[in-house]
């Protein structure tokens, strides 16, 4: 049983884990910088979270982007300009499939193959153990570096609600189709983007809808002044307006458009605008105003057929959907490799580079106020340049590393964010991109 399998040395090749959007960008950009790449993907096709055929995909029938097309597409492979401002998830999948085909990425991906462990063996090299998802023997290969792109929206984080519930409880990840809601009495727990989308969906389909949120959020409409709201916001960022002024403008704009949501019974936000990932939803206020959604506070406990709320009310839904987010999960990595703390939060430079292992990086572990693809593109370009520089000019690489170690975290992460798991990886896309840009400049081929 304990015979050690032969280790196949892949020499200068790099290993990419996952073939979702982040993994695909990693393969493309690493190859563009001259690396051989082996990518392992447990599913049998590309697209990761955006591929609704995948078991672990969180998308449901009506999922649309919440950031507009120009702020969502890969900078070097634009989406067709005839697509809508906020494309549907099936279009995003088509886009990723076309990206993979266009750059010939498929031939570097091993589908149906799971990474079991990734172990450093010294000198910056890694032994990666893989196994076919269909079972069978495992295989160990040695790589010059590992880029982890396994996504962070697939392992549901379920709230612990005391008591037993007679009705049905599901995590938002299991919600796929409006038929699951039709005519039922539904309680949606969670005030994030998914929670609000589901509350709206339930308002259109279900009999009765309660929406439980713990705190007040800022709800940005999808369109402002006839344009996608993120494009309007980008204009303010371009002018480098100070945060306080942007917050003031944001409040004014919301007051003039959406108006005051507390009169429907929503709690007022407990933080300033731009201090948390925005909730982008135009329809929540609309359905609140139609009485189709009843806002309720946090859930205290289950009690047979009823749900007890923190304000003492009891409601009797027959379906509870917990839109309480996902937990970043790296089963194949020892927690200390990415400096994971007791809560399970990894600590990475730029949310990407492992601090003690220069040849280990994580791509796409970000929550931004814009689409992820552009960020992950420049992240993986930076990873590729960094790994290239390490091999071609170790002296300069060491200098870059030293300089980066001195880059304060507040220069690229949010200064003040709401301290919950949902906001761990939150970045301001412009600040973050400026930081990555300056890193790219440092590594510019001399």
């Amino acid at each position: 049983m304990h015979d050690i399998p032969d280790i196949a040395d892949r020499r200068g090749a790099l290993c990419v884990i996952g073939a979702g959007a982040s993994g695909l960008a990693a393969i493309k950009n690493l190859r563009e910088h001259g690396f051989a790449v082996d990518c392992y993907e447990r599913e049998t096709s590309v697209g990761g979270a955006w591929n609704w055929r995948h078991d672990r995909s969180p998308v449901y029938a009506s999922t649309h982007l919440i950031s507009s097309r120009p702020l969502t597409e890969f900078p070097d492979f634009p989406m067709p300009d005839t697509w809508p401002d906020y494309p549907h998830h099936s279009q995003v999948l088509t886009y990723l499939e076309r990206y993979a085909r266009h750059f010939g990425l498929g031939e570097h991906i091993w589908f149906g193959t799971e990474v079991v462990s990734t172990v450093p063996v010294g000198d910056g090299r890694w032994d990666v153990t893989t196994r076919s998802t269909g079972g069978g023997a495992s295989r160990v290969q040695r790589y010059a570096g590992v880029v982890v792109a396994n996504g962070h929206n697939w392992a549901p984080a379920r709230p612990e609600i005391p008591g037993a519930f007679r009705g049905e409880v599901m995590h938002a990840a299991a919600y796929k189709d409006p038929a699951q809601l039709r005519g039922r009495k539904v309680l949606i727990i969670g005030g994030g983007n998914t929670g609000c989308d589901l509350a709206v969906e339930a308002a259109q389909q279900a009999g009765t809808v309660w929406h439980s949120t713990r705190r007040g959020y800022w709800y940005t409409p999808k369109f402002l002044f006839g344009r996608p709201a993120d494009q309007v916001n980008a204009r303010l960022l371009r002018w480098r307006l100070p945060l306080r002024l942007r917050q003031w403008l944001y409040r004014r704009t919301l007051r003039l458009t959406t108006g005051d949501l507390t009169r429907y019974g929503l709690p007022p936000p407990d933080h300033r605008p731009f201090e948390s990932h925005p909730v982008v939803n135009s329809q929540l206020a609309y359905y609140l105003g139609h009485g189709r959604i009843t806002p309720v506070p946090d859930v205290l406990s289950f009690d047979g057929g009823a749900v007890e709320l923190t304000d003492g009310r009891r409601i009797e839904p027959d379906l509870v959907i917990t839109a309480t987010g996902y937990r970043p999960t790296f089963d194949f990595l020892a927690p200390e490799l990415i400096d994971t703390d007791a809560d399970g939060r990894p600590d990475l430079h730029l949310h990407a580079f492992a601090r003690k292992h220069p040849t280990l990086a994580v791509a796409g572990l970000l929550q931004a106020d814009a689409g992820l693809f552009p960020l992950v593109h420049w992240q993986t370009v930076a990873i590729a340049r960094w790994l290239r520089l390490r091999t071609t000019d170790p002296v300069r690489a060491a200098a870059v590393q030293q300089k980066e170690a001195a880059r304060p975290a507040r220069s690229w992460s949010r200064r003040r964010v709401v301290p919950t798991r949902r906001h761990w990886f939150e970045v301001d896309h412009v600040r973050y991109l400026r930081a990555v840009e300056s890193l790219l400049r440092e590594m510019e081929a001399a």
Partner: protein, 260 residues
């Protein structure tokens, strides 16, 4: 030169979509070669490549496409059009730009990792081209300064070897309204993905002076491939077969070199 990371122009006011004219000739039975996208210069359209080069490229096994960039579009819109079409093709695309189309391609290369690129009689140095045009055809050029139409003479585009009737038929289709930015634009960005790039031209070009051609070639890491005796419009002039043969030979060599 750094890649353009912060793209506020695109984030705040994306280029509006238009219906684009794309002509194509596809090789029989598909094949493995990457698509080649031809981008015409000022006043020309996809028709300029349809005449000879498109068919010839397809015969050599490459899916061949030619784009007419939008009318009245600025440089940014034309670059957008080229990248939209290139990214819409199934494989990583080879970009071939002619004249000011080469300028558009040079800019597109800063954003789209082309499989390879060819700059043919490139007008990357607007001042030199403007001076050459003034010298060769002052009365046709001056109106363009005040927003009028740029008129080109037969000798500016073609050699004497092309029958006059044919040359005039082509010339009649050229409707050129140059924009100031063809002269005032900055330095084109560094290409992303480091594509192999070929610069071709002719020493007898009355649009692109030899010095400016050499300068462009040096920027893209080599010497220009020259076709003496031909006029500026390499794809329409009498000897059109020679440059396209050379381009495709070079391309075949580059593609096989990196595939190993």
């Amino acid at each position: 030169m750094n890649p353009e990371v912060l793209r506020f122009d695109d984030w705040t006011s994306p280029v509006p979509p238009v219906q684009r004219e794309v002509l194509s000739r596809l090789p029989e039975g598909g094949g493995e070669q990457p698509p080649v996208l031809f981008v015409p210069g000022l006043g020309h359209g996809a028709w300029a490549f349809e005449a000879h080069w498109l068919g010839h490229t397809a015969e050599r096994g490459f899916p061949a496409y030619a784009l007419t960039p939008r009318e009245r579009g600025d440089l940014r819109a034309h670059v957008h059009d080229v990248i939209q079409v290139a990214a819409g093709l199934p494989r990583q695309t080879v970009l071939v730009g002619h004249g000011t189309g080469a300028l558009v391609v040079a800019y597109a290369l800063g954003r789209y990792p082309a499989r390879a690129a060819v700059l043919s009689a490139p007008v990357l140095d607007g001042w030199a081209a403007f001076a050459a045009a003034l010298l060769a055809n002052p009365f046709g050029t001056l109106p363009a300064l005040v927003g009028g139409r740029l008129r080109v003479s037969r000798r500016q585009l073609f050699s004497a070897a092309l029958p006059a009737a044919e040359a005039d038929a082509h010339r009649a289709r050229v409707v050129a309204r140059p924009r100031r930015e063809l002269i005032t634009h900055g330095r084109p960005p560094k290409p992303v993905g480091d594509p192999p790039t070929l610069v071709i031209g002719t020493p007898d070009d009355r649009v692109v002076p030899r010095t400016s051609l050499d300068r462009t070639a040096v920027r893209y890491g080599g010497a220009p491939l020259l076709f003496p005796g031909m006029g500026h419009d390499l794809m329409l002039d009498a000897g059109w077969a020679e440059p396209i043969e050379a381009i495709l030979d070079w391309l075949t060599k580059e593609l096989s070199g990196t595939a190993a």
